[in-house]
Each structure stands twice: as C-alpha cells, then as structure tokens.
Amino acid sequence: MNYMYLYLPVALTSINILIPVGLGLAVGLLSGLFGVGGGFLMTPLLIMFGIPSTVAAATDSNQIVAASTSGTYAHWKVGNVDFKMGLYLLVGGFVGGLFGVQAIKILKATGNADFVIKMTYVIMLGVVGTYMFIESLHSMKKAKKQSQESGVSSQESGFTKFLKSLPLQTRFEKSGVTHSTLLPIIFGGFVGVLAAIMGVGGGFLMVPVMVYILRMPMHVVVGTSLFQILFNCIEVTFLQAYTNHNVDFILAVLLLLGSTVGAQVGAVFGRKLKGEQLKIILAVIVLAVTAKIVLELTLTPSLLISQGGGH
C-alpha cells in the first residue's frame, strides 16, 4: 500500500497527493494575488493528470469556494473588499449567467457551438491580456513621469462623462468611486453571460471590468473579485453536485489544502506590490494562457479521442 496515493471516489482514479496539493498552492497564490479563481489554469492541469474533464471543472469550483473564502478573508482584514460593489456585480452576474446558459442552448442548436465558444474564449483572453499589458506599461511610465514632474492629469474622457450622466448614482466608499447602480449590474451581467458561455468563472474578465470601467483601485479589485467569485462558486458547486454528481470531495479537499494557504500567501505578497505591477503580471499570465490555447488549437494533439460528457 502506498500512502502517497489516494483514490478519488467520483473521478474513479488514483492520484499522488502531492499533485493536487501543489497545484492548489500555485493556483491559490494567483487567486490571492490577482483576484481570479484560476479555473483557466486548474481545469486543464487536472485533466492532464487524468481527472475526467467534467469532474475537473466541478471539483475546481468547490475548491475555489475554499480559496476565495481564504482570500476574501485576508483582503477584508486590511479593508480591501467593497461588499456593496461586490453585491451589485453578483446580482448582474447571476442574471447574466441565466442568459448565458440560454445562449449556449441556442448555439448548440445551430451546430458548431464548440468552435464559437473556443473562439470567443481565445479572443477575449487575447484582447484582455493585450489591453491590460499595454495599459499597465503605459501607466507605469506615466507614474515615473508624474513623480518627476508632479503634474496632475485627470482628463475626463467622453466615456467617463457618459457614465456620470447615468441615473441612480451612488457612492462606493471602499473603492472611492461614484457610479450609477446600473453600471456594476450591467457589466456584472455582461461578464456573467460570457463566463457561462465559455464555461469558466470569468475572474479574468471581471478584474479588468472593475479596473478599467469601474475605476476601482487594484487592491480593492482583488478583494472584491474574490468575494464575488466565492458566491458564484458556491452556486456552481451546488448545481454540479446536485445535477451532474461531478464533485469529487476528496480531490477538492486535497486541492484546498494547498489553495487556502496559497491564497493567504498571495494576499500578503500582493500588498507588497503596486497596483500596476499586479496588473502587468496578470496580463502576462493571461497572454501566456492565450498562447497555450492557440498552440493546442494548431498543433496536432496526441490523442484524438477523449472522454465524453460535459460541455
């Protein structure tokens, strides 16, 4: 008997415990640092280690519940969670998710749904990653200049003026911004639709929305994003367990052993970095994932047959 291996009762396979604990630690670290769930990394890695794809996605959402609780808690302690904003985003995300599920049904009925979904995913990742990279590079340079010239440049763009003209303006104290209530609901909904279509949590979309559209400070974005992800993943975990029986409790426990600790370390480490530095690292990770997916799409895969089921 080898005590390094545990049998996973739902995945129906055996795994070396160091693999999920290590993966959890790494992805939890990213989660605490950047406020993403990390499903875009974790799910393919679990599949690579022999976990059926449907179980990998469902169990990952269970694990994210733990990692994002740990991360939200760490960020909340230092006042970096905007609960009010998080709540509005959640409402929008929930409604958007419902629309997204319907959109998938329509896509599937028209055929080549997989193609559209995959393309949307790659393009979104690529656009978001590139934009964040260029923007944060710019603002890093600007910050340098500003410290030299101590100039103030807060020009109001047309878009900002438009946002300010919307009704139901309200103050978000934690983030230090004033917006229409509709704004987080609409953009939360937009991310919800896309996330549901692409079958991912959408953290990598929510973070840029909060930074660039809602103009929240990066450190509050990370905490608030985690808070929002926590509730999304509770819902997804329950639905997956209830309707698809795909959550593997043992695998989730192994993953969260690493990810809860990783999220704490990430949160502590993140405080030592500037907002711009966080953004640019996240942009690089998103671009790396985009490149990986593009390679997967173009290189001939070693196996042309895979397990059925799932989306």
């Binding site: 008997m1 080898n2 005590y3 291996y5 545990l6 049998y7 009762p9 739902v10 129906l12 396979t13 055996s14 022999g50 269970n62 519940v65 733990a66 609780t69 740990s70 991360g71 939200t72 808690y73 760490a74 302690k77 230092v78 997989d114 193609f115 995959k118 509770i234 975990t237 329950f238 639905l239 997956q240 367990a241 209830y242 029986h245 959550v247 593997d248 409790f249 043992i250 989730a252 426990v253 969260l256 052993l257 809860t260 999220a263 704490q264 502590v268 405080r271 997967e296 799409l297 173009t298 290189l299 001939t300 895969p301 070693s302 196996l303 042309l304 047959i305 895979s306 397990q307 059925g308």
Partner: protein
Amino acid sequence: MKKFKIQNSKFKIEVFLFLAFCILYFAASATAFADLTIKANHDHIKIDFFYHGSSVSVKGEADPGTDLIVKITSPEGTQELRKKGKAAGFLWMNVGNLDFENTPYLYSVHSTKKLEDMLSREEMDKYVIGYPALSRHIEITPVSGEDEKLKWFDEFLKYKESSNLYRSSSGKIMTSSEGGRQAYYILTDWPYQAPPGDYIVTVYAVKDRQVIEKAEANVSVEQVGIVKALAEMARSKAAMYGIISILAALAAGFGVGLIFRKGGGAH
C-alpha cells in the same frame, strides 16, 4: 471341483470388475485432467482509500502441446467519446461524438506466442481475440466507411492504452510441464483506472490454429469503506453531498484565514 470352478469364476468376475474399474477410473481421471483449468488469485479487488491498482495472477493447467491465450475483459457496452478534428480547416478541437458499441471498457489479451502465428482469423473473430478481431467486433457510429472506422478504432486504442485499460502482449505467460501436464501462470497489473464491476478472465487452449478448449474465471472490483460511502452519497444524496462539500470548503477557507491571522502578524 465344482466349488473350485465357482471360486474360479468368482475370481474371474472380481478380476474383470477390478480391471473395468481401473479402466473407468483412469478414463474418468484422464478426462478430468484433460480439462483446461483456470484460477485467478486475488479475484476480489477492494478499492479503499489508498487503492492504487492491484495485480492479478492467472494460473491453471492445460494439455501439453497447446498454446494459450488469457483474455481479461469487462462486459461489453456502449461508450460515448468525443472526437477531435480540424475545425475551419486548421484548428484542432472537439468536433462531435462517436458511439462505440459492443465495446468492453477494459480489454487485455496475453498469449504464449504471437496471435497471428497461432490462431486463424476466423477463430480470432469468433472469440474476439486480439485488436484486429476487436476492431471488426466493435460498431462505431457515425463513420462514413470502413477506412474511417479503422482510423477511429486506432485512435480509440491509443486512448485506451494511454490509460492502461487496453493491453496486448505475447510471451509473458510462463509455462512449465508438471506431471505430463502443462502448467501456466501470468501476473498482470490491474489498472486503477478500471472502475468497479465484474470482469471475466478467459483462458483459451489453442492447437492447429483452432481454439480447442476454454475456461473462465471472474474478477470483481468493489469500492469499500469511505470511498464507497462518498461515491454512494454523491449519487443518492446529491443535495446533502453538495452542501457538505460547500460547508467544508467555507470552513477550510475561514480556518486557514484564522490560522494566518494568529500566526502571521507581520504584515
């Protein structure tokens, strides 16, 4: 004199009966010995918390001069799998499903010699022995013709072999002669990827390119303890299972948060 005669005939009858008994005994025991025998040791595999596959040995006796094939399969069924193909001419992605019918989930064949050297094609097909026979036995839908079927069968084999569920070997069965009989023995790794269920182990004795005898044994794989309890709960008490999974994750997240607050005050 008469008495002697009677005694004599009685003696003859006794001798006759003794000889008849001997002939019958040897004939009977000869047929008993001629039977191909099979025994799978460790035929009840228990999947517990630390299960990482097992090993199963198959042994028995056969007539001398016969070649042997040991086949291990699960019952046949339909498997729905996804196929990858080029979408828009250059992008690899899932392009649909394939149904594999009459298909065992696990299939392994071990033989004393190469299958094609010891068995005719008809016999291979009749008993579904070897990958070529299996490719003719399995139904794959939808495919446009025989060529496409063979292509997907080859991909299917790669997929199954990559998870140790399909295997084929020759020369791994050990044989020795014991009291005029041929004893055989093979030790095979039992893959942890094989799900719980009943499996059939069949040994075929082959002579002159034909199967002359076969014998079967069973291997059952069963979940026990925590593994069984969790698997059953995930299926039959799904709502409770989901809630427990969520609560455990929440508790773990908060727990670690508290530990870090106490332990790591340096921030």
